[in-house]
């Protein structure tokens, strides 16, 4: 686990995930978010653009890295450790069915590895593979995840947080109002996609989260 071993600064508590529309907007929203973020809270930003080909992802990753001016923020990419390494990003976020962090560390030991977990089994696999953090959700109802069934709820979030010593980010229907409830259940931080999409309210949203995440 990179952070524990190398005495790295703690992970940011706010986590922004790109909305997956980079194929239609060329990553414009993500780059705008990155520009806006600079002066504010450190944040983890995950490039999650499943519709892009590797070449386009690589281009976007390079642009994102150039746009990120705060050293305290961390830029991650979904699944592709090769692109993270080639573009000089900070880490990779691994879906449950991705290649394991342990296998990827054999050639990319310096990256941060996060894992999505939805069950006790995937928690065990993530811990054994040496994950640096976990992403758990959807905690609350969110339209994009309804096809997977009802949300996990705060109880399951709490159970996961009690079962692991890794930092857990809660995702799914999070807003500044319910963020505090996630933190109270043991979440280390919160993650969101849609809440960050309105860039006219972006700074205000971040400031509101800040109140609950770094009291």
């Amino acid at each position: 686990m990179r952070h524990k071993q190398k005495n790295q600064p703690p992970l940011p508590r706010l986590y922004l995930i790109s909305n997956g529309n980079g194929n239609s907007d060329g990553g414009a929203l993500l780059l705008e978010q990155l520009h806006l973020l600079t002066a504010f809270l450190p944040c983890i930003i995950q490039i999650r653009e499943k519709k892009l080909e590797a070449k386009e992802l690589m281009d976007l990753a390079l642009k994102a890295r150039a746009a990120k001016s705060s050293d305290k923020s961390l830029l991650l990419i979904n699944e592709r450790a090769d692109i993270a390494l080639a573009a000089g990003l900070d880490g990779v976020h691994l879906p449950e069915k991705a290649c394991s962090a342990m296998a990827l560390r054999t050639f990319a030991p310096g990256l941060i590895y996060g894992c999505s977990v939805h069950s006790a089994l995937s928690l065990r696999i993530a811990e054994e593979s040496g994950a640096d953090y976990l992403l758990f959700g959807p905690v609350f109802d969110t339209p994009s995840k309804r096809k997977y069934g009802p949300p996990q709820g705060l109880e399951n979030l709490e159970a996961l947080c009690q079962a692991t010593s890794l930092p857990v980010f809660a995702v799914g229907g999070i807003n500044p109002e319910n963020a505090a409830r996630c933190i109270a259940k043991g979440a280390y931080g919160i993650a969101g996609i849609s809440i960050f999409q309105d860039t006219t309210r972006f700074i205000k949203t971040i400031e509101q989260f800040n109140i609950y995440l770094n009291p």
């Binding site: 879906p95 054999t106 050639f107």
Partner: protein, 211 residues
């Protein structure tokens, strides 16, 4: 190392289990297996890649991973194959070093030349003949362009697209170092026999005797 005599590369597809296909192709004499599966999860790809690499090394063949440089590096594959929409050769080379082969798909002499300039180790060139494996936005290149490209670049060329036992030898005599097939083996009732037939064709051997 790319084989110095004409060789067969078999590319996996989504119709049958890549490991089963690889094993049969290797039995038939394929010298290179490319794991290509655009819809499988990363963990599934990794698991297949580990198995295929093991098999390839048993048969002294090369194990190549399509697109995913990360998977190729994680399993220590012999190489990675990059399409024009994949990571660039230069970026991949920085990650993979010189021990890992980098192949690039090219569909014109210009693309082949560009890949050579960027440091590719071999070119997958095609499609030479009409093919059902993939919907292509351009017409088949034919052996004239293959010949022209082979004269233009010094890298080994693997000809792909509509290759069969009848036309395989012509591709080699047109300057290809090897041939690559997908459906000719994967959709055959007898993938190892189909591979053997192709290997014989490019080595001008009779394939009368069965395996």
């Amino acid at each position: 190392m790319i084989p110095s005599s004409p060789f067969l590369c078999v590319i996996t597809d989504e119709t049958i289990c890549p490991v089963t296909l690889a094993e049969n192709a290797l039995k038939g004499g394929a010298a290179m297996i490319q794991l290509r599966h655009k819809t499988a999860s990363g963990s599934q790809l990794y698991a297949w890649a580990v198995e295929i690499r093991k098999l390839c090394h048993q048969y002294q063949a090369l194990c190549i991973i399509n697109d995913r440089v990360d998977i190729a590096l994680a399993i220590k594959a012999d190489g990675v194959h990059l399409g024009q929409q994949d990571m660039g050769v230069r970026s991949a080379r920085k990650l993979a070093g010189n021990k890992c082969l980098i192949g690039v798909s090219a569909s014109s002499p210009q693309e082949a030349l560009q890949a050579e300039k960027e440091g590719a180790d071999y070119i997958g060139f095609g499609h030479i003949y009409p093919t059902l494996s993939k919907l292509k936005g351009y017409s088949p290149l034919g052996t004239d362009i293959l010949q022209k490209t082979a004269a233009l670049i010094s890298l080994p060329i693997i000809a792909i697209g509509g290759v069969n036992a009848e036309n395989a030898e012509l591709l080699i005599s047109s300057g290809a170092s090897g041939i690559a097939v997908i459906s000719a083996v994967s959709r055959s009732d007898n993938p190892s026999g189909a591979s053997y037939e192709l290997v014989c064709a490019i080595n001008k051997k009779s394939h009368e005797k069965s395996l």
